[in-house]
Amino acid sequence: MKLLEKAINWATRKSPWIIHYNSGSCNGCDIETIDALTPRFDLERIGIIQQGSPRHADILICTGAVTIQTRDRLKQIYDQMPEPKYVIAVGTCACSGGIFDGCYCVMGGVDSVIPVDVYVPGCAVRPEAIISAVQKLLDTIGESKKKRDSNAKSLADSMNNNNLTRGMKNNTENNAENNGQDGGDLCAS
């Protein structure tokens, strides 16, 4: 029984079939997702095939902030996928709503409707980042829940230690100053 489980876990890692859904993206991340499927990147090497039907897919690749229009459809597509199923939120808008967050017709990120396994930030996301996200997701399949939780915790700790947020704040301040200077130069010239 254990051997069969191991074999199926191995097979799940080796044959992820993806389905791509645009839940209100500006098309930037969609172009990059399609780009990742071209012969240049050759995703069939790691067993990825794009499927049209949600019933055949294992991984839902979702791009863009979720709008009120697409909310029910996204939920429906997720429900149509057979277990075990995974969701990757591709792009900043899919992660958090991005620049569309707070808009009258936007629900927020993908995780406001369905559970998300991997977040890939970026505007637009590079194809390499999508491939890396799929590979990272596949590496966790078959791991015990405890191990996965401890991994997530160590990742969160390392992010806190690096003080990422403060660095970003400084950057934005610098940018603001730079922009001011640029503006000044522009006026002078």
Binding site: A7, I8, W10, A11, T12, K14, S15, P39, D42, E44, R45, G47, Q51, G52, S53, R55, H56, D58, Q80, P82, E83, P84
Partner: protein, 312 residues
């Protein structure tokens, strides 16, 4: 009795058929990838796909006919597996043969297509229904030229048994050359039978998602995929047994020749799939009835004349 069971279930029966089907699928995808200047999948890819689908949840649509929905993949796989028993693989005789097994093989091949049609029809999806109608339309198109092409060599051999035909052509190898137009027709309509590009409008991914398999998931889809792979082996072996009966009397050598012949036919099928775009369903019907059927008819007339000359 035990030997017969081993022959039917393990080698050269069902287990060999499944493994060889997966190998041919890998080879097909690899050739397809190399023509697109890609690396292609690793060798274990079809096996990984199959095992993964075995472990997935099975979703049965509420509107569908549940009993038929579950039973059709198994019937389809069983039909292919039982047709494969009549084809000579190891040595020049098949595991079982009788006068008329060629007809049985052709009808068992039709059962898989009928199963796909019913699978689409009973799953009640819109795409699945369109796919199943197209499957049936395409069946009426390719079936006549395919059957005529496969039955034409039997007219010269004066037997309806595949094993008998290989024995006849082994004795008279020059008669193989007469059947070359029929081989041409069989290769093209065989591609239609397998529903591969350019004849893949029944499961056109860009138009109707994946045709009749749209609602299938998990284990049921795995069995359907396996039966499609096995069908590929069946058609390739049938064409190689009927049109290319190159035989020695050593069984192992015959087996190696069989592998080479089927891989050669698969390469032709893969090249056809990768270099051609999809025909519309009406174009498929037109090609089959306007070009392939007349060629097959002329072949049958020529073979009847030669048969008459032989008996004089």
């Amino acid at each position: 009795m035990v030997l017969k069971l081993v022959k039917i279930l393990i080698f050269p029966g069902f287990s060999f058929l499944a493994i060889y089907g997966m190998f041919l699928e890998y080879l097909d995808r690899k050739i397809y990838a190399r023509i697109q200047n890609r690396m292609g999948p690793p060798w274990y890819q079809p096996l990984a796909d199959f095992l993964k689908l075995l472990g997935k949840e099975i979703i049965i649509p509420a509107d569908s006919n549940k009993k038929m929905f579950k039973i059709l993949p198994i019937v389809s796989l069983a039909a292919v597996a039982s047709a494969f028993v009549y084809i000579p693989v190891f040595g020049n005789t098949s595991s079982a043969f009788f006068e008329g097994d060629l007809i049985i093989v052709l009808y068992l091949m039709t059962i898989t297509t009928i199963c796909m049609f019913l699978a689409g029809w009973y799953s009640r999806g819109v795409y699945a229904t369109i796919g199943s109608v197209r499957t049936l339309t395409q069946m009426f198109a390719y079936e006549v030229p395919l059957f005529m092409a496969l039955l034409a060599p039997a007219l010269i051999a004066k037997t309806w048994s595949i094993t008998g035909m290989t024995a006849f052509y082994e004795e008279h190898p020059r008669y193989i050359l007469i059947n070359i137009p029929a081989l041409f027709v069989a290769l093209i309509s065989g591609q239609g039978k397998l529903e591969r590009a350019p004849f893949d409008s029944p499961e056109a991914e860009t138009e109707i998602v994946s045709g009749v398999f749209v609602e299938y998931s998990g284990r049921l889809l795995a069995f359907f995929k396996l039966s499609v792979d096995c069908e590929l082996v069946l058609v390739a072996s049938l064409i190689s047994a009927i049109f290319l009966p190159i035989m020695t009397d050593i069984a192992v050598l015959d087996f190696v020749i069989y592998l080479l012949k089927t891989i050669g036919i698969l390469i032709i099928f893969s090249l056809m799939r990768s270099i051609m775009a999809r025909f519309r369903i009406d174009q498929v019907v037109k090609i089959c009835w306007r070009y392939l059927t007349p060629i097959a008819t002329v072949q049958i007339i020529i073979n009847l004349l030669i048969r008459g000359l032989l008996t004089l």
